[in-house]
Symmetry: none
Subunit: 86 residues, 2 copies
C-alpha cells in the first residue's frame, strides 16, 4: 500500500514519488501513455485533482508531458535515462 494518509508527506507528493519510481523503474516505456487521471485517482483512491497536482511535479521535473485530450506521456529523454540505468 503505497499511499499513507497519516504520513507527513502530502498525498500529491506521495503520488508523484510513486509515479516517478514507476517511470524510473522502466515500468512505462519510452513515450508511453500513463494511466488516465481518472484511472490513477481510482487506483490510489484520491481525488483526480490530487493526481493532477502530483503529475504536475513530474512535468516540472521533465519526466512527463501532458497532451490535452490525449493523456500524459513519459518524456523520451527520461525513458532513455531509465533504459540506460537498467
Amino acid at each position: 500500500m503505497p499511499i499513507d494518509r497519516e504520513g507527513k508527506l502530502p498525498l500529491y507528493r506521495q503520488i508523484a514519488n510513486e509515479l516517478r519510481r514507476d517511470i524510473e523503474a522502466g515500468r512505462y516505456a519510452a513515450g508511453r501513455r500513463l494511466p488516465s487521471e481518472n484511472e490513477l485517482a481510482a487506483y490510489y483512491e484520491v481525488n483526480r485533482l490530487t493526481i493532477r497536482k502530483g503529475i504536475c511535479l513530474l512535468v516540472e521535473e521533465g519526466l512527463c508531458e501532458k497532451v490535452p485530450g490525449r493523456g500524459t506521456f513519459v518524456s523520451e529523454q527520461q525513458a532513455a535515462l531509465s533504459a540506460r540505468s537498467a
Copy 2:
C-alpha cells in the same frame, strides 16, 4: 503595490477594496468575468481562500456574482452604475 502585509486592514479587506476600485473604475465591463481566484491569488501573492473571502464581501455588496465552475462576474447593475458615474 496595492497590498500591505504590515497594514492594519486584513488582507481580504484590502483585496476587496482593490477589486471594488477596479470595478467602479470601469476596468471590468458589464457582465465581464473577473480573473479567476487562482489568477488573483497569484497576482496578489496571497492564498486563494483569502481572495475568496475578499470577493465574498463584494458579492454581499451586490457588486459581483459567482457562478460555480464558471467564474465571478461583475453585476449588470453595478456596471450600469459605474457607466453612469463615468
